[in-house]
Symmetry: C2
Subunit: 513 residues, 2 copies
């Protein structure tokens, strides 16, 4: 169809975070947007601050697709940086300041930012963590140092060059997720992903222009980012707290008439303890979300009268694949959201029946675009057009998701630095008409670091030889993916649901070459 | 960025109307989806009916991108056809049965459907309207004839082939809009457009799983289609009425506890009259939308206690560019929606100040993909990345849109069948350093049907000749776009806001060659 419309298909069907900022200026320039201590930015103020910084960053040479790493507490400037990047088509790398120096170093090397913006208290630590000479522009939120200039000084230098053509398929953020296969991976998130997440949250919770969100979750986590932007998209206000403490949180909820919070243990119970001590009812609250224990959620709902929305999600899905009121099905992670589709599959991507555990797959506009400069991992994660979360769960008859566990992370085999996924090799082995079972895993190998081992079951009466089967596989997939070692056994150990017990196979045959 | 992720960018970020159907089966298979007279389909029933028809249509040879024309009243089968097309990647051409035979004939020729599905009472009229031999498959909703087989007979023949890979960038519907430049244009609408429209309506009104929508607006109009699908996406129920009459409408609102209606004059006032006569309060209603007179809207709100949401939109924008409660700003068309951006511009796409009238431009995921097989018109409509609505309005200081009028539709000039837009020629004329004013329009021409005429103003003291200026333009844009006739005048008539009074120029100089 695209071909029939030809080159006329411009990007008129798009909406960016920059559009969202402009929308609020048109609809409610004077309403409160961001509140933090004495700072109170209206939507008009916010747009001005964004444009000043975008102009400043442009004058420092930053351009579309350049990365801007940020190491900071929640603060108005964090929003300003996201907004400026949205204007410029630049990409924010929000770094978790709790990470170890070597982890931060990895992220800074992998994302190769052109600018680094840090809170003054992280400046010293960053010098240890990273070779700062590789980062062209170093800025700080507040007082400058020899190596870090204050962002206030650069802002507004050249406003005119700050805004360039950006559309909803352009990335705005890369958030690094937990290490899989030995290294953290940068999840590339577009404007369109965030706008989709906003609409889903606004429509579901719902969020309105009189909503007030207390930013307890950090702005470098997807959960905090999506809730902040959702409330901003709906025209509500974001109230910030630099570093979490329960006393300030409870006081702010009362004073700023907060309607929405998102928390992760032990935030919520400590806020409830504090409120109980000081006799605060927190009755402005309407919505809680995030993660917590059943008894804390119940206590939250009883104390405040608000609804706690349970969810399942990850950075790769803009947080919310599922989102349901806790009371609908206590203990579950809720049901799929308006812009998410879920499947539960076995190791070969076959759907499993309701009630049975398997990997959780997700599809929808809330799914990220891939891992930064990791084409093969991205393709593998997205095989069949669905994002493979690496999390295990089951869906009950009513569509509620019950989280089980994180999938074994050592699944990936790396012979000679290449990435080989066991299920692809197993699938290929099973295509041989005489093979009825296969289990593939990695074993230590002096030459290649790791080698591929396959344990297979032949049909009764078959005289298939290991080297024949290895050659069969080598003709079907890349040669480096063929098993180096292959053993035939009479049967593979299987669990109650018929699934091969991978760990048992590894223990039994892992070292027998 | 796409290049960096390379081929790994699959369509995991997508959501289709087919996904929406599946979602409802997972979340609420037994809940009521579609109600019409004695027919009550649950979401499970609906999905089954959709799959049966998709299988049947596939068995008749229909494939992805094939068009299916529909001439029908609102009925459950209309939903079944939309759903089956969504499954197959086929494209529905919903035909307004009020059109004249020659208009229907044009649509059937232009869209070249492989199948035509009609209500029995339109079968006779269609024989007059169209050469049916060109349409391979002719089906009817109900009793068959020699030329039309009942859809029930084909349904379910081969379910397995009914579902193919479809993503949100695939078209699902082409709706023909009013004739511009002498012919109706088919607005191509994708799954993604409709999902965006659904989310915007769900988030704004809001719509929930207990919402009930009375389908008064026809399913061949974008308004009726978007409201129906929005309610379905949220898990609510659609209650159908075959042909509108106020008595049945009022009774159904009471009996089925309808919460949402969408009406166009004179529906709403006639329903209110009917309810008043029979003492019905229509108190289940929460939301009204569509278009109507101020006094009717006020009467509706007073009678029912519901909120009427005013809007501006067109087929090309999934109906809702703006959507606001009437009481917020009576008389206006409301403010831009969560997934729409609006601009008001002059004839040269320059933004005009608040309060000044100009053409309404729209951008956002709710904007259609272009006109069916009209590349040039599509490119022109989407120039600068914004959809040019052809409607004139003004935005006030608070962002409310005030509708003024439809733009003069004769703007397009067609010399020898080519399309020439005056503003492009004017822009080119004004690029000459000695030209300070230009107005371009079409005049009758024996040879070419229409010819391009330009009336221009030179700088004081300039001795520029008409043929020199014509040649200047011919070197900058396609030669067929150069004016055939060009006259210099001392001044062009301008209105209070400085805009050239195009109609006055045409009257004064239109026939003076």
């Amino acid at each position: 169809m695209v071909t029939e419309l030809g080159e006329s298909k411009l990007r008129q069907s798009d909406m960016t975070i920059s559009d969202m900022i402009d929308k609020n200026v048109v609809l409610r320039a004077d309403d409160a947007a961001i509140i933090c201590g004495d700072v109170r930015w209206s939507f008009g103020d916010y747009a001005e601050e964004v444009d000043r910084l975008a102009g400043g960053l442009a004058s420092l040479g930053l351009r579309k697709e350049d990365r801007i790493a940020v190491v900071a507490f929640n603060c108005p400037e964090y929003f300003q940086i996201y907004g400026a990047a949205a204007r410029m088509g630049a990409i924010v790398i929000p770094v978790n300041w709790r990470l170890k120096p070597e982890e931060i170093q990895f992220i800074l090397e992998d994302s190769s930012p052109k600018a680094l913006i840090a809170d003054p208290e992280f400046v010293e630590g960053l010098r240890d963590a990273a070779d700062l000479r590789n980062i062209e522009r170093r800025l700080t939120i507040g007082k400058g140092t020899a190596e870090f200039s204050p962002i206030d000084e650069v802002s507004g230098i050249d406003v005119s060059t700050g805004t360039v053509g950006v559309d909803d398929e352009d990335p705005l953020v890369i958030i690094y997720t937990a290490a899989v296969g030995g290294r953290p991976r940068g999840a590339v998130i577009t404007h369109g992903n965030l706008v989709a997440a906003n609409l889903q949250a606004i429509a579901t919770l719902p969020i309105q222009s009189d909503s007030a969100y207390l930013n307890l979750a950090p702005l470098y986590h997807i959960g905090g980012l999506v809730m902040s932007l959702s409330v901003m998209h709906a025209g509500g206000r974001n109230v910030l707290i630099k570093k979490f403490n329960p006393k300030d949180a409870a006081e702010l909820i009362e004073r700023e008439k907060i309607t929405i919070i998102e928390t992760f243990p032990p935030m919520l119970s400590s806020i409830l303890d504090e409120a109980s001590l000081s006799g605060q009812k927190l009755s402005s609250l309407k919505i809680g979300t995030g993660l917590d224990q059943t008894n804390t959620i119940q206590r939250f709902q009883e104390t405040t009268g608000a609804t706690f929305w349970v969810c399942f999600g990850q950075t790769e899905t803009m947080s919310f694949c599922t989102l349901s009121p806790f009371n609908e099905c206590p203990g579950s992670s809720g049901r799929e959201g308006l812009l998410a589709r879920l499947r539960i599959v076995d190791d070969y991507d076959r759907d499993v029946p309701a009630g049975q555990a398997g990997e959780i797959l997700v599809k929808g506009p809330i799914v990220f675009q891939g891992y930064w400069q990791m084409e093969e991992e991205t393709a593998y994660t997205f095989r069949g057009g669905w994002h493979h979360t690496g999390d295990v769960g089951r869906l009950d008859e009513d569509g509620y998701l019950w989280y089980v566990k994180r999938k074994a992370e050592k699944e990936l085999i790396k012979p000679g630095g290449e990435n080989v996924y066991p299920s692809e090799v197993e699938k290929s082995l099973l295509e041989h008409p005489e093979v009825i079972g296969a289990c593939v895993f990695g074993i230590p190998d002096e030459q290649w670091g790791e080698a591929i081992k396959a344990v297979c079951v032949r049909k009764a009466g078959s005289s298939l030889k290991p080297e024949e089967l290895i050659e069969f596989v080598a003709n079907r997939i890349a040669r480096y993916k063929k098993p180096k070692y292959l053993t035939f056994v009479n049967a593979l150990p299987r669990g109650e649901n018929g699934e091969i017990e991978r760990e048992t196979v590894k223990t039994e045959y892992g070292l027998e070459i």
